[in-house]
């Protein structure tokens, strides 16, 4: 539907678009600079207003991807992030369901404690975690990192999924139970599919926060082949030499999986799957 005629409408449209264009430029500008730096020769960023490479090259990209341990490190990142998402979802699903549907002793207190754990930044526990992992011989391991990340991904996922379960009508499970399902079957066959968009979003967020995490990874990991990509990136820009070109090229490579994930998951990100089951 097109709106035209009234001058105030036209003015409004111009203003709205001006604001949007400004916002897009503002947020895109640094990204363009990264692109420009990645594909420019030399190690230092270009010094000009427009983010255009003066001498285009793919040398940085080839160097980053061709490093002997790069693929090993990429695998570290992806597997740690995947495991964090899986562990988070697996533990959070039954917990969130119980919190949403049943009343039991300690329910309120449990929720408060979970909430309290969310108040502390992860860095605050970096040193204790280091000591714990050292004792358990889990330093420089993916398992150790997943255990650390799960401590934040689990409570986060519990809150997300509990909110999702709260919006799923109880009638659905009751219908399933009258239809012959056990409580567990009703959960698996009716509630979980209805909560699929929320589960996808929660898993995606858990994946991304683990994939992007830097400080703990930098604390716990030391060996070259154990590193995750954010730590690798940081090491391009050292105290003595700063390989900005490699850093920028690496940033782009690191971003690609996340962009791909968002692209694949966007169907699930649009919620509304439950519409229609219960009147509406």
């Amino acid at each position: 539907m097109t709106r035209r005629g009234r001058p105030s409408d036209t003015l409004e449209a111009v203003l709205v678009h001006a604001c949007i264009i400004l916002a897009v430029c503002f947020s895109l500008y640094p990204v363009l600079w990264v692109l420009s730096t990645a594909f420019s020769a030399g190690t230092a960023p270009e010094r000009s207003i427009l983010p255009l490479p003066s001498t285009p090259t793919t040398a940085h990209l080839v160097e980053v991807v061709g490093a002997p341990s790069f693929w090993r490190q990429a695998l570290n990142s992806v597997s740690v992030a995947l495991a964090t998402a899986l562990v988070g979802i697996a533990i959070a699903l039954p917990t969130a369901y119980a919190l949403s549907r049943f009343s039991f002793v300690g329910r309120q207190a449990g929720v408060r404690v979970l909430l309290a754990t969310q108040m502390f930044p992860m860095v605050a526990s970096a040193v204790p975690l280091y000591i714990v992992l050292e004792t358990l011989n889990l330093l420089d391991t993916r398992t150790g990192l997943v255990v650390c990340y799960a401590t934040t991904s689990v409570p986060f996922a519990i809150f997300q999924l509990r909110g999702a379960f709260d919006t799923i009508p109880k009638d659905l499970e009751e219908a399933a139970m009258v239809d012959g399902a056990t409580r567990l079957q009703a959960f698996v066959r009716v509630v979980l599919p209805a909560a699929r968009p929320a589960i996808a979003v929660t898993a995606l967020f858990a994946f991304m926060s683990a994939y992007n995490e830097f400080i703990l990874a930098a604390t716990i990991l030391g060996k070259e082949e154990a590193l995750t990509l954010p730590v690798v990136l940081q090491r391009f820009v050292g105290e003595h030499d700063a390989a900005w070109g490699k850093f920028a090229a690496g940033s782009i490579v690191v971003s690609l999986p996340v962009m791909a994930l968002f692209y694949v998951a966007q169907r699930h990100l649009v919620s509304g799957l439950t519409a229609g089951g219960v009147k509406g």
Binding site: P169, D171, L172, E174, A175, A176, M177, V178, D179, G180, A181, T182, Q185, R189, V190, P193, A194, R196, L273, T274, A275, G276, G277, V278, K279, G280
Partner: protein, 359 residues
């Protein structure tokens, strides 16, 4: 198929008593309607029958089986929810098959049941759609179909028509009764709608504050309400209630008040001494008559064509009378009305119970 017997069902949520000593008998193949105002406990009672709520005390039997402690899935019931509760991620076909698949019914049997049910309810064109692609009426039919496909011993309906518009509701009401007669399965139906209650029930249970106020065939309950609550709940417009004095006569009795003097049938009063009572008269039970015992001063006449409702005063009390469409009394007129003695209901002022002979 099963006879349903409930004995002494009690249920409380915290300090709130929801059901207090409910006894219910539904004969095999019978259609029972639980009716009452919101908060009377009818939905809770249905959920107790379904096994979705445990009763605090009492016993439930389906046929010869004691089901009091059974899980819903072991009770052999099907339920149509007010919200329909269709599984949103499954097509109509899978919704219909859900319960059968859980019972590991052979595929061929599932297919033939789906075919049978969709023919019965006209669901064939919808089988591959998702619930969100259906209209309200279609969802309602799928919910019915899902119940029927299971071939349960007992059907439970929790206000299944309340989300439909008025025209569709009347249609589906008739369809439900037809289906019941065809399937001959025992059904228990919860509603707050007295039209549904009157038209669907073989046996009607009027609930009030967690008790069965009166049970019986609907017309019988309508004709002889045991309490003032039942009298007021059934019938539209509602029964008129007038404070009056009960006087003993040689045969039967009379009720008398300002603007009213009527004979009461002997079956409608006990053989006590009389005194202050509440008289109940349905708007449809009055007839204009020169010598009528009611003097009603008309305030407003609502003419609907075939009939009219006269809003009047008898003495100082409001009174509604149903009149023939041709009759057009003007506001301020005093109309003499008569009531057959058996249609004069007499209730105790304090307890609200009908003063029936022999009770």
């Amino acid at each position: 198929m099963a006879r349903v017997t409930l004995r002494g069902i009690e249920k409380r949520f915290g300090d709130t008593v929801v059901l207090q000593g409910v006894d219910i008998d539904v004969p095999d193949g019978g259609f029972a309607v639980l009716v009452g105002p919101s908060g009377c406990g009818k939905s809770t009672l249905l959920r107790v029958i379904a096994g979705l709520e445990r009763c605090d005390s009492g016993a439930l039997r389906f046929g010869d089986r004691d089901v009091t402690d059974l899980e819903p899935r072991d009770r052999d019931i099907a339920m149509v929810f007010q919200s329909y509760a269709l599984y949103p991620h499954l097509t109509v076909r899978k919704n219909l098959a859900f319960g059968l698949e859980l019972k590991k019914t052979p595929r061929s049997e599932i297919d033939s049941r789906i075919a049978e049910v969709s023919l019965m309810l006209g669901l064939e064109p919808l089988l591959d759609r998702l619930p969100r692609q259906l209209s309200g009426g279609q969802r309602q039919r799928v919910a019915m179909g899902r119940a029927i496909a299971r071939r349960p011993a007992l059907f439970l309906f929790d206000e299944p028509l309340s989300n439909l518009d008025a025209a569709l509701r009347a249609q589906v009401r008739v369809d439900i009764r037809k289906l019941h007669d065809r399937l001959a399965a025992t059904s228990i139906y919860v509603t707050h709608d007295q039209v549904e209650a009157m038209t669907l029930a073989d046996v009607l249970f009027v609930l009030n504050r967690g008790r069965v106020e009166q049970a019986g065939p609907p017309l019988e309950v309508f004709a002889r309400p045991r309490t003032r609550f039942v009298a007021a709940f059934l019938g539209s417009p509602a029964m008129n209630f007038l404070p009056a004095r009960l006087e003993r006569a040689e045969r039967g009795a009379r009720v008398v008040r300002d603007g009213l003097a009527l004979d009461v049938a002997p079956t409608n009063v006990d053989d006590g001494t009389g005194g202050e009572v509440v008289v109940g008269i349905r708007p449809h039970d009055v007839v204009p008559a020169e010598s009528g015992g009611i003097a009603a001063r008309i305030e407003v006449l609502e003419a609907l064509g075939t009939e009219s409702f006269a809003h009047a005063r008898v003495g100082a009390e409001p009174f509604v009378a149903r009149l023939d469409g041709q009759l057009r009394p003007a506001a301020g007129d005093v109309l003499r009305l008569d009531v057959a003695p058996e249609h004069v209901h007499v209730f105790d002022v304090a307890t609200g119970r009908a003063l029936w002979a022999g009770e």
